[in-house]
Symmetry: C2
Subunit: 374 residues, 2 copies
């Protein structure tokens, strides 16, 4: 009887829309819809405040948003679909757009803290604003204006992210249910960034453990687990489904950051949109560098000590650092870590209580997040 | 019949609680309750994240919150009472506490942008954090850490303010109704601050108009009108009541800022908690200074040009600037402006469709906000 039941249900009795459960998730269309929502929202904000200083700032936010990977909105929609929602529901697309705006806030402030000059192939927001300051011959004043205005622009992105979230049209009770996940995501990313800032130039023995802590707070939860869980919770996911988001999201989040660290050192600036020296000059405390240091000889450690985190590092020095990393084999170890995590996530996905469509979407995003070149 | 009706209802037939409508609003008790909620909320946040870097940061936020005037929570409770709510309802007290946390976020970021060294008699947050940086002999690195960590601490206050607001227990539909007011408040204060940052050192002819714009955005709406309106909307106020908040709040908000500007120049640091030279060194673009400049002779303008906004200003220089202000009579004009606005607000209050208790509370706060010495 059980077997007869299975045969009768699939694929003979087709309910309206049921076929689409096996169709691939239209990630490109979702990305496009999220962009359209962001643009429309920014138009509205500019129009509401047309008599204030905001319209030109809105255009800076719009430029900054161009070219993002939209990973968080995509993960959020996957979570929503995994819990039974439709991938073209305007509520979840708006929530995804709100997550992207929140991410802009985080990036604008991070770039300022890291003193980064460019992102996504464009100057960072504090540099754009400093260049617009009307202070000829006063570079310190222009830089201070750029920093102050970037703090405010980030703040505006956060506040507007919240406005977009609350106006998403998600049923208030479901939004209320998802609040603890949203609150946790916001606090986690800031705690992670604080850890990052606190020990920015520490390259000693417990650096590896700290690098993993930063990854877990700042990336794994923030970039992958929470967005999926939020999407799922907003359409009424149960605890089992929320836990399966962790089994997939934890390894993918970690692998995403490990890839980011490799690209920060070995990526091509024309593809990554970031200068090849930024991470090395900033002395970014990554798993890659912590592993390298652990395995390095005294002479190699001296090279790291002299060059990593050296603000005047040039191309030759960067190549010396890359040589040390390669010589220790840390880059290959990190590649292996990424592959292991990708496999672990895909295995978790096969067990996850989700529709085929959600699983296919998450599998595709797993590849995008970990095998990317930018 | 109408007159008989009136006589029978008041004061002969007393409903339970009715007498309290004429009692003064217990502002001190409200302030105390808001403080207790803030402390309890911070305890919870520290406990939730006991294994992270957050607990020490929570203590910095707690120290920073000590000594605030709690004007925004008090205005918010007044609005709630004006629309028929009870002053001891935990929902509105939590919303008030959320407004105070939001204010901490705004102040922490503002102090960084203004490069202020102290507030409320204590070092500002970026100074506290810079002093904690473990960078002996590297003042620039310590300062960069202080700035980065202060950006993050402000961000955390904003995010937690939102968490407290959403968990206030206000009925979701009423919270939804009040959202546009909350959104407007947040955007307005940032647009005002941006205007302030954009033209920080401009002391020329249209400075007076710009100073008024900043006051209207950054103070009048943010400090007075919006908190009252939010409190009122959260208990179902109608449009007439919301408009009467403007008739009272606009002049009080303006007078509050004018008083702030006078205290920034003439206040005693032991009372204001702020150094007497900060505003003058920063070249703060106030109505007071714009008026002074308008009325100043060429020689006096030269003095202003040389000393106002001069980061190395000393006590002698400050006294010269104060002399110029007094000689032009700008200080007396600003005192007159404050008095006129206080009268206007109190007159509006007499016409406002509110309970006697709300009116008495707002009248007391009007005095506190405009006649204060700190």
């Amino acid at each position: 009887m059980a077997s007869g039941h299975t045969v009768r249900e699939s694929p003979v009795v087709v309910q309206p829309g049921e076929l689409s459960l096996d169709a691939p998730l239209p990630l490109r269309r979702i990305r496009h819809d999220v962009d359209a929502i962001l643009n429309e929202f920014l138009d509205t904000q500019a129009a509401k405040a047309s008599d204030s200083c905001l319209p030109p700032l809105v255009e800076i936010i719009r430029d900054f948003l161009t070219g993002g990977k939209r990973l968080r909105p995509l993960f959020c929609v996957c979570g929503w679909v995994a819990a039974g929602g439709d991938s073209d529901a305007s509520e979840v697309l708006k929530v995804g757009a709100a997550l992207e705006l929140f991410h802009s806030f985080a990036l604008i402030h991070d770039d300022l803290m890291d003193a980064s000059d460019s992102r996504r192939g464009q100057p960072t927001v504090h540099r754009v604003l400093a260049a617009r300051a009307d202070k000829p011959g006063e570079p310190a004043a222009a830089e201070h204006f750029g920093a102050s205005a970037a703090i405010l622009l980030g703040d505006i992105c956060m506040v507007w992210s919240d406005e977009l979230l609350n106006a998403s049209g998600v049923e208030p009770q479901l939004l209320h249910t998802a609040r603890p996940l949203i609150d946790a995501m916001r606090t986690e990313v800031m705690a992670g960034q604080y850890l990052d800032v606190e020990h920015a130039d520490d390259a000693t023995s417990d650096a590896l453990e700290r690098a993993w802590r930063v990854i877990r707070h700042k990336t794994a939860a923030y970039t992958v687990i929470r967005p999926i869980q939020i999407g799922a919770a907003l359409t009424g996911a149960d605890e089992t489904l929320l836990q399966s988001c962790v089994a997939y999201g934890q390894p993918i989040g970690e692998a995403f950051q490990l890839r980011d660290d490799l690209l920060g050192v070995f990526g091509h600036p024309s593809v990554t949109g970031k200068p090849a020296l930024d991470d090395l000059r900033a002395g970014k405390r990554t798993v890659l560098m912590a592993l390298t240091w652990q395995r390095a000889s005294p002479a190699q450690r001296a090279t790291i000590g002299r060059l990593h985190g050296n603000a005047t590092l040039d191309d030759d020095g960067a190549e010396q650092l890359r040589d040390v990393i390669r010589e220790t084999g840390a880059d290959c170890t990190v590649e292996d870590m990424i592959a292991a995590r990708l496999n672990k996530a895909l295995a978790a996905l096969r067990e996850a209580p989700m529709s085929v469509q959600a699983r296919r979407g998450l599998a595709e995003l797993a590849e995008t997040a970990t095998q990317r070149r930018y």
